[in-house]
Point group: D2
Chain length 223, copies 4
């Protein structure tokens, strides 16, 4: 069954995982009562995040050992630069945020911490280290959206954040997340071994903590 | 006159610079009324910082183009791993902090943000990018300590933080900082040009902001 | 006028440049009397080269400072992985070389030397260092093919290597090479300065020498 | 018993290993009838090699996960920059080669290939990948010298290369090589697993092949 390494990493992170996936930001977004200022802050920083996300997958191309690995990373860079950033810009425009304004916004401490932590893991270690540090984001967002869509407390009609939930709960993103989890298994078989698990779990937990801090940063804008 | 690039970078960072060098943490440390909890928090995170500082200079060895450049970076790694970390551990012991306890403390968001920002600048760019991102720390600490020691408001007798000020205001550290500033000039002449200034100033300002956040993190422990 | 930095680098490399662009391998290919064994050896190693070429542009994505820079590097990775490698495989099949056979061939000393030299320049330096090390290949191939197609000594009818010349002399590749040369100028303005020229010229000359060695490796297969 | 991974890698490289350790260059050096021009060529390129060897261990500092790992890498950089390069320069002076002359000599194709291959393995992979690529050099030289000193065909008296054999067969270097082999075991336990063996063995074999090419380059100077 695929996703085995991801499940072990998630289990090893203990309470850190739900503190991220069931963060107040997420629960309020699902209920539709997240302050708009919090969401706008999140959207702007998520735009800045995407630039480094594309850099991380560019690095993954460099770190590939097979043509298949290279092509998967290249598809993710292309999806980010050609599709996601565009969709994000369109979506943000609907929230009154222009691309120029977002590009000039300084990166928040939390954005810097998560993105550069990921890049350093990827450069100091190998591609498995890089993908493990990215997993709380790539795989976690799929879990967050699916879990919230399955929750009766989630407001479906008239929820201003419904589009966000639909995107990450949708078949396309869920499938991308499953592929990312499978890739972790494949790499752990090829480059891992039990001896590596502790260090990978440590990095996964730190990355998850930094993702939770990202939500907190959003909420802080509404205080 | 040496230190020209550093002075230009500092000037370009505007109010961000004194927000770091005259941060409340620093002023209270100099007056001797910084809460001990704030200083202890700082010491623990500074220990974790030093490990990444040594990694950054290791990276500088890799990125060197001349034997002289390599030797300067190697001397800084050696000083960090063989002297500074030892002194830091001794000093912290005096504040009731054991090395084992510090090594097990999780890195604060602010520690992760500054250290990984520096490493990413160094890996994405060249050695000048790396050293510019390190300058607010390496050169800035010398300025902070010298400025405070020259300030009549600074308490010299019975100040529990006097040793910290003496170390960074001392001849040895001041000389190390001057060499670091000179190295910036030399590299800017050899690898720079006016076209690079804007990007270097942007990275310097971000690094300075992250250093100020590091002080804020210390203070937060005393709230 | 664009291509200024490339022209200066080429001029600074002196006799090293024509030793590459007018190498016996090239002249005989144009005359149509290059031994087939030499061309086959070249084709196989060029396939292995392309994998590292894609890695180099993946690294360029990571090293990008703007969205535009990222997109240009991403387009080159995509072109390499989605188009060029496929065309190369088709073309090689016409020469009796299967993809599986090429993928199992050991990399020649000359292939390792050039590809890893480029990657190290890119990692030790910045994106300009990376693109300068790639320029003898990217821009040089366009010059080689154009120069040979303009040479009356070149055999056009019945030349078994005509397709190779047509591809690199064609409008599409010539345009890609011009863009690469323009990108050098843009980066030299933004990240360079006269102080950098000597080191860039040194790396360009070494990369050119390694490209000439690549032709020599091809010829050696026919001895 | 230590050195297990090294022994497995050596066994997996098959005939590639003795083609390096019992290369004609080595056998003639031991018999004392290696042409001096071959040895001089080797010495000059070995000087250029050492600069990249120091860079590789600088990179290892950056890639360290523990203070102990950092200290071992730092000790090797220090030994290279503060001791080995100096000894090498002194030794070369005895052979009529000045440091200035060596520093201006262009790097041979073989020097570039091996050094940059190692650095790329280290950057694309993790520290284990880096140390495996360095092992044919670090551990191999100890084996080469010990094997030759145990061989009755080796000329001990009046052999102009005796000092070279004594240095690498000496207790100090043999101990350094044993530590390097132990470090491989420790890292394979901590970061490896059987799944990684095939790729590590592939890189080890390529690095060994490139080391043999380095001897061949030396011999070629005497043709």
């Amino acid at each position: 069954m695929t996703g085995e390494l991801f499940r072990r990493l998630r289990a090893a992170s203990g309470a850190i995982w739900p503190a991220y996936t069931r963060h107040d930001f997420v629960l309020r977004l699902a209920r539709g009562d997240l302050p708009e200022a919090a969401f706008r802050r999140y959207l702007v920083q998520d735009y800045l995040f995407l630039l480094h996300f594309a850099r991380a997958w560019g690095l993954a191309i460099y770190k590939s050992e097979t043509l298949a690995e290279m092509r998967r990373a290249q598809a993710l860079v292309a999806a980010t630069l050609e599709v996601e950033i565009g969709l994000h810009i369109d979506y943000c425009r609907g929230w009154g945020l222009s691309e120029a304004a977002m590009a000039h916004e300084p990166e928040a401490l939390e954005t810097i911490a998560y993105t550069r932590f990921v890049l350093d893991r990827g450069l100091a270690g190998d591609r498995l280290d890089l993908e493990v540090a990215l997993a709380p984001c790539v795989v976690g967002y799929a879990e967050i959206a699916a879990e919230r869509m399955a929750d009766p407390a989630t407001r479906r009609d008239g929820n201003p954040y419904r589009e966000w939930l639909d995107m990450y709960a949708g078949a396309e993103y869920q499938s991308l997340a499953r592929e990312a989890a499978s890739a972790l298994d494949e790499q752990f078989a090829r480059r891992g071994g039990e001896g590596r698990f502790a260090a990978l779990a440590g990095a996964f937990a730190t990355a998850t903590r930094l993702e939770a801090d990202f939500w907190t940063m959003g909420l802080a804008a509404a205080r």
